[in-house]
Symmetry: C2
Subunit: 191 residues, 2 copies
């Protein structure tokens, strides 16, 4: 009945995501997006409603995949202490392997959350999912006597989640791997 698209929307979304991730929202122009994705303005605006729409789609895509990955690590088997270490190690590994990128959600949180309710909502949701998974894991571990009974699982969960943010921040400014490992080592020590 009609012509089919000459590009894969998922690939386009991936390219756009990396561009927004690296440069931020305001510093990325429609021109940049066309060059990164390889499609024209018409296709871009025809498929995604606007620059902001494309940004939100990219951000949600990234956040969904990211939180799912973190939750999997939190909900894995084994001592919770080891799971948290693997969680934080995985963040360090990602930052080291992609220097200067940081985390798209953290970047969006800084740049746009205060002025963009849609972004703030994605950030809040992602945070809640990870923290909730951590709280559940820590509660279970506490019931099993694996961590001290006098500790507050919610406080620990907030703390561990905050470490992820701290590592993302360090990664964005290309801090040494040693610095990030220091943070992980000390943080894991509290459990």
């Amino acid at each position: 009945m009609a012509r089919s698209k000459g590009f894969d929307p998922d690939r386009v979304l991936d390219s756009a995501m990396h561009t927004f991730w690296k440069q931020g929202y305001a510093a990325t122009s429609a021109q940049d997006l066309c060059e990164a994705t390889g499609i024209g303005r018409s296709s871009l605006y025809g498929t995604f409603e606007s620059k902001h729409g494309l940004y939100m789609r990219s951000l949600e895509r990234y956040a969904d995949a990211g939180t799912a990955g973190l939750r999997d690590l939190v909900e894995a088997r084994g001592p919770v202490r080891e799971r948290v270490r693997r969680l934080l190690d995985s963040v360090v590994e990602e930052e080291v392997s992609q220097p200067g990128l940081g985390c798209f959600v953290v970047n969006a949180q800084i740049e746009r959350a205060p002025s963009d309710p849609d972004v703030a909502s994605v950030v809040r949701r992602g945070r809640a999912e990870v923290v909730d998974a951590l709280v559940r894991a820590l509660r279970t571990a506490q019931a099993d006597g694996e961590i001290a009974a006098d500790k507050d699982p919610e406080a620990l969960a907030d703390f561990v989640h905050a470490q992820i943010g701290a590592l993302r921040l360090l990664g964005r400014s290309q801090a040494d791997r040693a610095t990030m490992e220091h943070v992980v080592d000390v943080a894991v020590g509290v459990l």
Copy 2:
């Protein structure tokens, strides 16, 4: 010999700083700066070389004052554990009293450090000053037997500094005070 300026450059710098701090670099226009500072384009470009120049002056001013404040808290008298708590508490207090602002340096770190060597340099310098002060304080405390001998002062310093970043991140997205206090409580517990 000539006319004198009709405005106070320091006040202008303060107004510009707050605008950049809140909105970021790319999202702040020369128009915004003129409105915030109350001076015209000519005066702005005549006094500061460019938008980027004004941004750097603002950032350096903020960073100098901020790191000096943090260093003072670290180098105060009393048990190092209490000093660190006051340090982190002061960050929480600032974030709560200025919701959604976060830290200008952290914001700049995310938005511009990867693509702006000048900004990266300011960020690096600020980090080094605070971490160095922490290392010195922790080493002294360790020599006095105040903290365990098997701990690594540099690791602890990196960790404490990372907590500041984490709190700034939480502040930028207007996290609950309770969340930030959780982070502080758990973090201080490791010393």
